[in-house]
Symmetry: C2
Subunit: 337 residues, 2 copies
DNA sequence: GTGAAAGCGCTAACAG
DNA sequence: CTGTTAGCGCTTTCAC
């Protein structure tokens, strides 16, 4: 591996001169600059970023932690983050927590010891608090993505879970449904709590009584949920519509519904948060509240870099990205009983 | 940021002792070990990986370069890579080339200067050769993923493109189709060439004459392709089936088919390589040759780490992962004319 | 314009 | 079992 000294020797100058050429700092005569550059090329010199980082105390490395690399919401987000990072001259370290606070913890440790300049963090849930505290204790800037964690002060990029849930619920109500089940994420995740709130608001607004037994909770990544969905539909007056708090929950629910002979949307309407695919798809089936996943990542990185470079305001910023309802086939008007 | 020296001072010992405690090397009395550990915890000490890397000449960082972070094939692959990396104690730097050799080049430069221990590389195509050469010139181990690049000697994890294509084509033939279009990727990508070969072999085997005008090429990421698909179907004797060389091509084709009033599978059967979604899906529609994307990533990292740690054989290894046909609705028996 | 010296945080090699 | 010295590849600071 060729170093700055090898170049300096061949170019008959000091390491400092070479360093200045590399970084375009200070005054250098055109002649020496050219000589040094030629030799660098000739010797295939590539600067050692780590050595540099060690002295300048900055790595130009950012970390992106997502909870499910398999979910198109997060891959689209990752794509946005990747683009933004590239544009701003940062590299991205990727990790996937699988919604596990423990995996998160492991990763936080490696992140800290890697001395990344900042972390873009989609937390597993409220239990991520200690992990986040660990980061803040080391003064590593954080931007929280998608989910808020009570007790953490930092910049945020969120979706409008409450409004979205309200809108989606009202959409179902508009289709004639009054018995609407909510298959929610864990209540230890802020988005799940807000989606419940939005759901309840929509019911109230339409004078529909809230039925406890129409609510169930499951893991956001969960695809297998026969028991849970079974419970929801066992009642005398089973729901005619189901609102799933995210895409994977909806998928699991549909599968489970099909297994018990219920057709979607004929027997049960289904709608959810987030698109099911990253790109477009042949013939989208699911009625969804679509969130601008790409922007979550892109803006998140922008905010993070602003903060790192001291261009951010003192106070914490909270960006709420709007979502949009796409009415499709999975949610249909209620059939006359 | 607290350093080894801060610990050493408080613990009343040398930096070396602290270092030994951290790395669990050499002999240390239980008493000093405990004292040092307590102080490390108390001061929230986190080792500085870069400083360490600088001296041990190893970063424990791997780079994963994929061509389309939006494609479920690659995200699933990334998940496999991520899991393997974690299990083996490596971190993963992620990048997305968007099938662009230029983006690839940029990334290669940062990868080299980051001194990653190895690169897991899904090349954009044959033109990636100079980028790969750059890496090998720096003696950075590479494992090539999914696509081969003529002129590059390294470990490989590939799918069985020829066999898969042959199998898929024969499946279509078995359904009664004889006029089968091939919507292929760019011929500068090894998988596209092999898929063409497999397609041709299947035709030969079934005494179907090869029709030049049934072949078209497009970008693997392409979703918009009206002109291309139009050309394929303008003939007097339009194809009754279409074999798309990857999932996104199939999606684009279907959309374009629908726009010209052709229904799938009623008017045209469609089948392709790779699943359309990372996870399971409600009611899979597309007939596909599914590749074990997760294994591409997992095994790729394993091979890479083996190579890095000198556990790999001298000769280059070439792993061919088998694929599997899933017959679904998008490809149907040919209707009597 | 250019260079010499010192040090970023850590560990290898050797000494005791 | 523990410490000393030197140096990984680079940049900061100050001197010329």
């Amino acid at each position: 591996m060729v170093t700055i000294y090898d170049i300096a020797e061949k170019a008959n100058c000091s390491a400092m001169t070479v360093s200045r050429v590399i970084n375009n700092t200070g005054r250098i005569s055109d002649k020496t600059r050219k000589r040094v550059q030629d030799i660098m090329r000739e010797m295939n010199y590539v600067p050692n970023t780590m050595a540099r980082s060690l002295v300048v105390q900055e790595t130009r490395l950012l970390s992106l932690l997502i909870t499910d690399i398999t979910n198109p919401f997060y891959t689209t987000l990752a794509r946005g983050a990747e683009d933004a990072a590239r544009h701003l001259g940062y590299r991205l370290l990727l990790a996937n927590s699988d919604e596990s606070v423990d995996k998160e913890k492991d990763y936080i440790d490696t992140v800290i010891s890697t001395r990344v300049d900042g972390v873009l963090f989609a937390p597993a849930g409220d239990q991520s608090l200690p992990n986040l505290k660990k980061l803040t204790k080391q003064k590593i800037p954080i931007v929280l993505l998608d989910r808020e964690v009570p007790g953490v002060e930092c910049d945020l990029v969120l979706g409008d879970s409450k409004e979205g849930a309200k809108q989606l619920t009202e959409h179902l109500i508009g289709l004639g449904h009054r018995r609407i089940a909510l298959l929610n994420g864990s209540s230890s995740v802020s988005t799940a709590r807000l989606r419940l709130t939005g759901y309840i608001e929509a019911l109230k607004l339409n004078n529909i009584t809230f039925t406890e037994s129409y609510i169930a909770e499951a893991d956001y990544r969960k695809a297998e949920m026969d028991g849970i969905v079974g419970g929801l539909f066992q009642s005398e007056e089973p729901p005619t519509a189901l609102f799933a708090a995210n895409n994977f929950l909806a998928l699991g629910a549909i599968r489970s519904l099909q297994e018990r002979g219920l057709r979607v949307p004929d027997d049960v309407s289904v709608a959810c948060f987030d698109e099911l695919e990253a790109g477009f798809v042949v013939d989208p089936f699911m009625t969804v509240i679509a969130q601008p996943a790409y922007d979550f990542g892109y803006m998140g990185i922008q905010m993070l870099v602003d903060r790192i470079q001291g261009k951010a305001p003192e106070s914490w910023r909270r960006i709420i990205l709007p979502s949009r309802l796409h009415s499709r086939k999975s949610a249909a008007p209620l059939q006359g009983t």
